[in-house]
């Protein structure tokens, strides 16, 4: 499986932590005895490249949308991304909404209830992370991978097993990152196939 990250501009800590070495990295995960190779892709997040988003996420199974809990705007951008992704990819895509910077709980501007209920209303899962303290990120990826595998299997069964569609194998996941500095609301896209 592969994972792509649509990152934002300027770089947020979430992306920085992920891509401190290179803009392309692989992660090996073990899920339910199944070895999963996660290829995580960094993408350009400047506003002028926003239109290129579909090229990165068109073959994805899932998306991680990251917002900053201290910034209301970034949460609005998450909503826009959800709309776009649902429109482009339908319900086949696993959505994760991530409230980042939980180390700054005091400055919280997006309420937990609001975020969680919104996530539920669009069929997404909500997570809390702190990139600074490296909290919740590993769990996030593990959980997302599990869900992606499940969705992929359900899809396959629905399609009638035998004729393995090459397209299905080519799908991946997105991460969309809407942290505050991200004026563009850059996306993080993780595709795992």
């Amino acid at each position: 499986m592969a994972l792509t990250v649509l990152s934002c501009s300027p770089r947020t800590l979430f992306c920085e932590t992920l891509f401190n070495i290179a803009s392309f990295l692989t992660k090996k995960l073990n899920i339910g005895g199944k070895r999963v190779n996660l290829a995580i892709w960094d993408t350009a997040g400047q506003e002028r490249f926003h239109a290129l988003g579909p090229i990165y996420y068109r073959d994805s199974n899932g998306a991680i949308l990251v917002y900053d809990i201290t910034d209301e705007d970034s949460f609005q951008k998450v909503k826009n991304w959800v709309k776009e992704l649902r429109k482009m990819l339908g319900n086949e895509i696993c959505l994760c909404i991530v409230g980042n910077k939980i180390d700054l709980e005091k400055e919280r501007h997006v309420s937990i209830q609001e975020a969680e209920s919104y996530a539920e209303s669009v069929g997404a899962k909500h997570y809390h992370t702190s990139a600074k303290q490296n909290k919740g990120i590993e769990e996030l990826f593990l959980d997302l991978c599990k869900r992606m595998i499940e969705t992929a299997q359900v899809d396959e069964r629905a399609k009638g097993n035998g004729s393995s569609q090459p397209g299905a194998a080519r799908r991946g996941v997105q991460i969309i990152d809407d942290e505050p500095q991200a004026q563009s609301g850059g996306g993080g896209c993780c595709s795992s196939g």
Binding site: C15, S23, T43, A51, L52, P166
Partner: protein, 516 residues
């Protein structure tokens, strides 16, 4: 190579050959003929009554020309047949006995294809009705075009041969699984041969299915570990794509070529885009960085010369690595995707790689999907797709320019570089830059020298004018007030004469005595 030598050997078996073989062989022949000539008459062998010549093998010039022409035709024919036979044998060696018939048409297929395509272009509808007759026509043309074709076939077959050999050698290390794979690959290639008429998307779909099936079979039935599966898949891809390349790269049934030309034109029209407009974080003044940029451009251009999708991807990856290095040297920190994509766009704009769209389409259609979607290569490839999409849609806004400026640059009325003080392109290497600087300096000096010359000439003219002017003035004055020299006696006399106006003066004072 073996094919070449065998062909020469064959030509020797005819008596009347020579222009195609080397001089050395000629001399050998004439020696043998030397004895021959002694025994025979000196007249033309054909008995036309003229004298023959050993150099013309005993014929007179006229008969020789006729004979020679005939022989050459015959030889070409035979060479052609031989090449065809060898090709057939070669095909048979790889394919099962069933495919030998198909292989025969394989030799012609190139021409048939060309011809058919030509027909399609000219008379699409007519061709449908007369497809049978057009075939016949194409065969005729093949015979006319015989001579150059064996070399083309030979050339491609050399590379195909090499790849095939490597593939077989490679599979030998896998014993039974290898045999199974070879069989499947052969069957697939045969099937593809009959699917050539299908649309490129269908052919692509077949190839993708094949990749997936083979990989699955290896994992489930052969119990091959996944790392090995990857290696085998790479070899399979190399083998089948080397063979399919000429049929499926930029096929004429698609508009790939049109798109190639469109993007090429577009990139040319955008020649004025500077790194600053794209916010490219690369400083080409640093020699190391400009070196990396040049290497990146070379790699992306090289992509077109590769046949296997994986090799093409490797070129893109190498290019991307150079870009990352260039950014790293400039910024002194690892590059992020925010830096990478603009730089890649800049490199594509500068390099204008040939057949860009065809290559992208070809890779998308025929590359092993697992590599394309998960690997590092896939990441860089996706970025290249983005770069191309960006270039296609690029407008004033994406370069932070005003619409008027953008339009003016696009129409070529002005160039943003002209406004800069530097008239040379910023991408030139240091030496060239120095040269341009020196040229600039020289032209400045030249200008100044000219100015000095002009000034000097002006000064000279001024001086001449001045002297002339003075002379004229003096002349004028002299004319106006001519110098009249009066006789000297008169004034002298006047001085000496009695005072004329004496009487107007009061009388001179007379001394008076006062007695007191």
């Amino acid at each position: 190579m073996t094919l070449v030598s065998r062909m020469i050997g064959n030509s020797f078996s005819h008596v009347l050959v020579c222009p195609l073989i080397s001089r050395k062989k000629m001399s050998l022949k004439s020696e043998r003929r030397g004895i021959h000539v002694d025994q025979s008459e000196l007249l033309c062998k054909k008995g036309c009554g003229y004298y023959g010549n050993p150099a013309w093998q005993g014929f007179c010039s006229k008969c020789w020309r006729e004979e020679y022409h005939k022989a050459r035709q015959k030889q070409i024919q035979e060479d052609w047949e031989l090449a065809e036979r060898l090709q057939r044998e070669e095909e048979e060696a790889f394919a099962s006995s069933q495919s030998s018939q198909g292989a025969q048409s394989l030799t012609f297929s190139k021409f048939e294809e060309k011809k058919t395509n030509e027909k399609t272009r000219k008379v699409t509808t007519v061709k449908k009705f007369f497809s049978a007759s057009s075939r016949v026509g194409s065969k005729k043309e093949i015979q006319e075009a015989k001579a150059p074709s064996p070399s083309i076939n030979r050339q491609t077959s050399i590379e195909t041969d090499r790849v095939s050999k490597e593939f077989i050698e490679f599979l030998k290390t896998f014993h039974k699984t290898g045999q199974e794979i070879y069989k499947q690959t052969k069957m697939f290639l045969e099937a593809m041969h009959y699917k050539r008429e299908l649309s490129i998307e269908e052919q692509s779909e077949c190839t993708q299915d094949f990749y997936q099936n083979v990989a699955e079979k290896m994992q489930t039935r052969g119990k091959v570990p996944s790392e090995k599966v990857e290696k085998i898949m790479d070899q399979i891809e190399k083998y089948i794509m080397t063979r399919l390349y000429k049929y499926v790269f930029c096929p004429e049934t698609t508009d790939d070529e049109k798109k190639d030309l469109a993007i090429q034109k577009r990139i040319r029209a955008l020649h004025w885009v500077t790194p600053q407009m794209l916010c490219v974080p690369v400083n080409e003044e640093i020699p190391e960085v400009s070196d990396m940029v040049v290497k990146a451009i070379t790699d992306i251009i090289e992509m077109d010369s590769k046949r296997v999708p994986r090799d093409k991807l490797a070129c893109i990856t190498r290019c991307s690595k150079h870009i990352f290095n260039a950014i790293k040297i400039t910024k002194n920190e690892p590059a992020s995707a925010d830096d990478f994509l603009p730089t890649l766009i800049y490199i594509v704009l500068k390099g204008n790689p040939p057949r860009l769209q065809s290559n992208i389409q070809y890779i998308t259609r025929f590359c092993n999907p697992s590599r394309l979607m998960t690997g590092e290569d896939g990441y860089y490839f996706t970025n290249l797709c983005c770069a191309v999409a960006f270039i296609e849609k690029l407008d004033a806004q994406s370069l932070n320019l005003s619409q008027e400026d953008f339009d003016r640059y696009m129409s070529g009325q002005t160039s943003p570089r002209k406004q800069e003080s530097e008239s040379w392109s910023p991408d030139a290497c240091l030496g060239v830059k120095q040269m341009y600087k020196n040229l600039d300096l020289l032209s400045q000096l030249n200008e100044r020298q000219e100015r000095i010359m002009n000034e000097a000439k002006k000064l000279e003219k001024d001086l001449i004018d001045w002297t002339d002017g003075i002379a004229k003035e003096v002349q004028d004055i002299v004319e106006k007030y001519p110098l009249e020299i009066k006789p000297a006696a008169q004034p002298l006399a006047a001085i000496d004469s009695e005072n004329v106006e004496n009487d107007k003066l009061p009388p001179p004072l007379q001394p008076q005595v006062y007695a007191g």
